[in-house]
């Protein structure tokens, strides 16, 4: 074993011992255990019986989020104390990259489900291919369209009239999210959401270039604008959900169209909120504590990767959920 010369080798920082991991594991467990109890109360529980499921869930969640806050705080402090070597920063970068990859795979499942349903299940249920008998015996009268305006169950006359294969009431929507008339495109909310989210990706990039040029004013301004655009996007999504439930009759129960629509846009919206929070934290760090320089800004860079990822997912969503 020949040690390297000190100019080549920086010592890799291995923290001595830490409570963070155990607290995070406890918080995560309590919040998910609580969430499971909340859902079971909702579906199987007796409404007249008081339970403490919500308390467990909220306490666990608070403890978890507080731990994450403390964890990031510790890491930032360590970095500002000069403990992070260039090699360690690369570990963080790799960690973030592969975390985003795992998120990509998570969205991949829901997109795959959508494609599978649209290209195979729908036609099969309406009697194409090998599904002819299934249509004749199980779902006579069902015709496949997308967006699926009438579910197989409705084609049979609703849940009550159908003795088999029922596990819920699947009443389809009155109006889908597809554009109703092409001439009124400027009234179509998803298009504006697309413009807003794509612009926010551009503004984050402008902020980054400002930071690389050591122009903190430019950085703060454009990062702030990005966070604002993110907030507008979330607000518009909330409006869209309200419209769907209040006026379109489009809910989670609206058969597979409602299921895929809400799961894809819902998980995307959730990730926008996470990404926006990340960017907001970076903005606060920069504005209030003067963090970040042209050389040292991994917190911001990781958040911006995440933001671009969320943006790309939206573009795919716009294409496959709203347009096509």
């Amino acid at each position: 074993m020949t040690p390297q010369t000190s100019t080549e080798f920086e010592k890799y920082y291995v923290p001595e011992k830490s409570r963070l991991a155990l607290c995070a594991a406890t918080g995560l467990f309590l919040s998910l255990f609580g969430a499971a109890n909340v859902m079971n109360d909702m579906t199987y529980g007796d409404p007249s019986v008081e339970t403490n499921s919500w308390t467990i869930f909220l306490c666990g969640l608070f403890f978890f989020l507080a731990t994450l806050f403390g964890w990031f705080r510790t890491t930032i402090k360590e970095n500002r104390a000069g403990l992070s070597s260039a090699q360690m920063k690369k570990s963080y970068a790799l960690g973030m990259f592969w975390f985003i990859f795992s998120e990509v795979m998570f969205f991949f499942v829901f997109f795959s489900a959508l494609f599978y349903v649209r290209n195979l299940v729908g036609p099969w249920l309406s009697g194409e291919g090998d599904g002819g008998r299934m249509n004749g015996l199980l779902w006579p009268g069902f015709e496949y369209t997308w967006p699926m305006a009438i579910t197989p169950q409705e084609a049979m006359g609703g849940a009550a009239s159908q003795p088999i294969a029922n596990n819920g009431d699947f009443v389809s929507f009155e109006k889908s999210m597809a554009i109703s008339e092409a001439s009124a495109w400027w009234k179509w909310l998803p298009l504006w959401n697309t413009i807003i989210l794509v612009s926010s990706s551009v503004t984050v990039h402008i902020a980054h270039s400002g930071l690389l040029a050591d122009n903190k004013r430019k950085f703060n301004l454009w990062l702030g604008i990005s966070v604002l655009l993110g907030m507008i996007f979330v607000a518009l999504q909330a409006l869209e959900y309200y419209e769907a439930y209040a006026h379109y009759g489009l809910t989670l129960n609206s058969g597979i169209y409602g299921s895929t629509f809400f799961m894809l846009t819902g998980f995307h919206g959730f990730h926008v909120i996470i990404g926006m929070t990340m960017l907001l934290v970076q903005w606060l760090r920069s504005v209030r504590a003067g963090h970040f320089s042209a050389e040292d800004h991994f917190g911001f860079e990781a958040s911006s990767w995440y933001w671009h990822f969320v943006d790309v997912v939206w573009v795919l969503l716009f294409l496959f959920v709203y347009v096509l």
């Binding site: 291995v14 991991a21 995070a24 406890t26 255990f33 790799l94 599978y116 299940v121 009431d169």
Partner: protein
């Protein structure tokens, strides 16, 4: 090494607040061993019920809970964490790194597991019982017809998945970023290579499993219709998603086992591994192909013929890189100066029995033939040959191989060899007859069976009991080694062993390679 080393913290905080890769590895290994005992005891209940035809000991619902939890606990609680523990212990020492790349996250990955599996086991005592739908939890058994405890099962899978993803990200970052100077990718020990590829697989498919259970959760509690044809969804969609995770998952389990065997066979043949490069490429090919073969688990669901054919040919293709590996191990031993200590015995046991399991897999890959084998005991025999005699034998070999390095004491060789021979024979007594009853038509996951299967089932149960009991011998050997084994101090415990882990002191100090070694 330098005098600035910090020893481990005193008391319980050493473990609760651990950041050291060796401590976390140790916790993973003990946790997985305890899960192995728990999952094994469920298997004993199954085999006791099947000892004779007719209903003997447990009611059918409880029997189903036993088969389900046996599978879930063995896959997610025993085998996967055991290899993560091994990765924690060995990867930094094999590549000359001071620790894992992200030490605190490493501890988080571990501490998620004990409460998760406690919750999973506690579902047995909940109203309606625990999960009873098989470890593959097909919808609608796991949605419309499941007991309320399924919600806890779903969140348990979420947590186990999160733990695996974080563990794998850590391994990827460690291997890509923490290698000592001169340790190029093509000089890495095979165990490190197989784990790197496994970690990629895990990061790619654990989120897919998370997606599957999330859709289940939504179908159960929020009225969506992903897996319900009445709403325009499809129960078969569940199977597609599950097996898109599930097939890479079986390689996640077996690839680190390949890595272990690729370390041990050269050491006791006193020859370098034959065809190192081809081993790396074969491992990568297996991993890539594993994404294209998932529907070979679903030949009987009524796929279009073109689909059946595609998945059949793609599956058969995997036999090529797997064959490369098997032949390379055999060729490594060819004209080697071989000795047969316990690790080597288990590695050779692995090689023979895994090859049998591989061949039955090839039989199962033939779509028209699978219509007969599907969901029969033949499948059970097949995957126990690759899971137990494959993954578990290799894990056992790894423990015997590295235990002296870990604790600086030598295990009892006679007891080790006895453990091997009892395991090897009883394993075959337990699982070989299952091929026959399966081919003759005995379905899996049933508490009672037709009379003509009685003899083979009794044989199988006796083998399983002996196998289960003989693992206690292993536990006893390991514990007595740690407590009172013969102390050793040679850096190189095994004469033929190669690699950086054999250049550090025995027992391995708390911190190793704080200054990276130079690899030539």
């Amino acid at each position: 090494m330098g005098a600035h080393h910090h020893g481990p913290a005193k008391g319980l905080s050493r473990w609760l607040f651990a950041t050291n890769h060796k401590d976390i590895g140790t916790m993973y290994l003990w946790f997985s061993f305890s899960m192995f005992i728990l999952g094994g005891s469920f298997a004993m209940v199954i085999r006791a019920e099947l000892f004779q035809p007719g209903m003997q000991l447990v009611d059918p619902l409880f029997f189903n809970q036993m088969t389900t939890l046996h599978g879930l606990i063995m896959v997610f609680g025993a085998i996967m964490p055991s290899f993560v523990g091994l990765a924690n212990w060995m990867i930094p020492m094999m590549i000359g790194a001071p620790d894992m790349a992200l030490p605190r996250m490493n501890n988080w990955s571990f501490w998620i597991l004990p409460p998760t599996f406690l919750l999973l086991a506690s579902t047995l005592f909940m109203e309606g019982g625990g999960p009873a739908f098989g470890w593959t939890f097909y919808a609608p058994l796991s949605t419309t017809y499941a007991a309320p405890s399924v919600t806890f099962f779903i969140f348990g899978i979420h947590m186990a998945g999160l733990s695996s993803i974080m563990g794998s990200i850590n391994i990827i970052a460690t291997v890509m970023n923490m290698r000592a100077p001169g340790m190029t990718y093509m000089k890495m020990p095979m165990f490190v290579w197989t784990w790197l590829i496994t970690a990629f697989l895990l990061v790619a498919v654990m989120p897919v499993l998370a997606g599957a259970v999330t859709m289940m959760l939504m179908d159960i509690h929020f009225g969506t219709s992903f897996f319900s044809a009445a709403g325009g969804g499809d129960p078969v969609l569940f199977q597609h998603i599950f097996w898109f995770f599930g097939h890479p998952e079986v390689y996640i389990i077996i690839l680190p086992a390949f890595g272990v065997v690729s370390q041990i066979i050269p050491a006791f043949s006193r020859k370098p591994l034959f065809g190192y490069d081809s081993m790396v490429y074969a491992t990568a090919s297996i991993a890539l192909l594993s994404f294209l073969v998932w529907a070979h688990h679903m030949y009987t669901v009524g796929m279009p013929v073109a689909g059946e054919l595609f998945f059949m040919y793609a599956t058969m293709l995997i036999a090529v890189p797997t064959g490369v590996k098997v032949f390379n191990w055999v060729t490594t031993m060819w004209r080697g100066s071989m000795t047969f200590e316990t690790p080597m015995l288990f590695a050779i046991g692995f090689l023979i029995l895994f090859t049998i399991g591989g061949f039955t897999g090839l039989m199962l890959s033939i779509a028209p033939a699978d219509f007969q084998y599907h969901d029969s005991y033949f499948v059970v025999a097949h995957f126990h040959y690759v899971m137990v005699a494959g993954a578990l034998f290799s894990m056992t070999a790894a423990v015997y191989y590295w235990l002296p390095k870990w604790c600086g004491r030598m295990y009892n060789e006679t007891m080790g060899k006895t453990h091997f021979w009892i395991s090897f024979i009883s394993f075959n007594v337990a699982f070989f007859p299952q091929h026959f009853v399966g081919l003759a038509g005995m379905p899996r996951r049933i508490p009672d069976y037709a009379l003509q299967f009685a003899d083979f089932n009794m044989m199988s149960s006796i083998g399983a009991f002996v196998y289960g009991l003989s693992q206690l011998l292993w536990g006893y050997n390991v514990i007595s080694t740690i407590v009172a084994g013969k102390p050793i101090s040679d850096e190189k415990v095994w004469e033929g062993a190669e690699g950086l882990e054999w250049t550090v002191a025995t027992p391995a100090p708390f911190h190793t390679f704080e200054t990276p070694p130079q690899v030539k």
